[in-house]
Symmetry: C2
Subunit: 319 residues, 2 copies
Amino acid sequence: MIEAFQGLQSHFVAVEALMSASLASPEPRVDALINELGAFHGKMLRPALVLLVAETLGDVDIRHQRFGAALEMIHTATLIHDDLIDDADTRRGRPTAHVRFGNTTAVLLGDYFYTHAFHLVAEMGLPEVTSRLTMTTNVVCRGELHQQCAARDVGLSEEEYSQIIYAKTAALTELAGELGALTGNPEQRRAAAAYGMACGMAFQIVDDCLDFTGDPNKVGKTLSTDIERGRLTLPLIRMLKRAPAHKRPALESRMVSVSTPEEVAAFRAEVLASGALQDALGTARSQVQAAQASLAALPDGPARQRLWALAEFILARDF
Amino acid sequence: MIEAFQGLQSHFVAVEALMSASLASPEPRVDALINELGAFHGKMLRPALVLLVAETLGDVDIRHQRFGAALEMIHTATLIHDDLIDDADTRRGRPTAHVRFGNTTAVLLGDYFYTHAFHLVAEMGLPEVTSRLTMTTNVVCRGELHQQCAARDVGLSEEEYSQIIYAKTAALTELAGELGALTGNPEQRRAAAAYGMACGMAFQIVDDCLDFTGDPNKVGKTLSTDIERGRLTLPLIRMLKRAPAHKRPALESRMVSVSTPEEVAAFRAEVLASGALQDALGTARSQVQAAQASLAALPDGPARQRLWALAEFILARDF
């Protein structure tokens, strides 16, 4: 359990119960599949953001739990489809959905998670919140497609990389912050959204570094998928920047063509030796500082301290 | 152009424009992909249902066009994922999304269509309609999963088959009828929903028959995918019912195990010879009659006559 999540245990139980109830099916065969899938979700970062921000404003209620459940379900839908696309075998130390149930079921399960997440919010009768959620999920799907369209383009700029990770990751954590501050004033909502966004940016940069440095047993998921997919993540963009001009063309061509496990391992070692990872982590550190600075607009207290620690954890995590 | 669709041309232009505007992306690479995809959708049956029902009540407006666009986009999302799952190469005579852009992009494009469809309705600020849409899409995804969970089960009952096709197809056409009658009285809404549902049931049964009898050049999509996937559709359920008891076990085992093109062709001929298709089409005919009977609750006029003809077309179509 992440330290910053302590105190959220009872809320997490409620969020998990909401997810289970939402995904349960009146159709026995489908319900059996959902039960077999079990409690299937990500690290609960998004619900934690909603709940901790709401706590700073002193009023966590069922709505925040619902928002958290819906955001985690949308995140899980993207994980199910991502793992299928990346052919990743494990996630949080467990076999991924397509490994357990086959590719067809994984495609359909991801869809099932998406629509049930939308309905969980839509049935609350808050049209503005629903519209923010669907708009944000448009951005998430755009980010996923953008990443795919930009694969193997060694000319990818750092600015475009930032647009991709904002869309695929930080837009949803931004919304998590914003929904946590639903009852706050506009300044608090903006600050909470900014906090969530910066956390998401930092989280994704660290994730992109862990793809190179992580211990698969600790991270609990298949690594090196970015290299295999030819994704120019921040470490690679920085590595290219640091390379002497005359070495760049050869580096670029290898960067998007390594394929055998041996090539991947050798290239991984080269990235590690280049110093590019520390460089990228410096950018993640700046995002964490920006996140922490945003907290000034929220009331001080234990919840705000946990949000501070959560941002710190994002940087320090090795899983 | 289907005869019953005549007069809808200008509405269809508006619906296509709404879909294009909704799917357009501020991100150039994603926008280029969406443009390359072109006007990509199904037969426009769902928008036609919304618009013709609204016409019977004398008030088609931008809301109906939006509903039609959203329903067609949701239907298209399911087509993109279905074609990927079924490894179908063509759809409406054109290469399918995964053939054109690869499996990864097809998974992500389907997600992109889903979320943009939801947003198109969510931003209208009609919470009850949004909730009906997300609830219905839950049913659609449940139907897709149900079909997958029931594959290769020769014990599938006709009742369970009906539940599957209701969920995967008729729930969305039911909603199309209901949304067309949004401004009508409760009786009209119920009648329009019943019309849409019965049309959807008939449409799917005919589709399941065309999987055996269709001319791929006319139908414009890859056929015999149901046999290959071991899906017990109505023609097969009826074929089993008609078979003498002592021949059933052998028939059942072949029904879910044919795999080579030669086996598929031979089995297809056997289904055709069995009379099961005429039998299944009789059930589709009953649904068409039920749909037409529902029309009595809607005001008479040219639009209602087109709805009558549309139901008739569903039965007669060979594409």
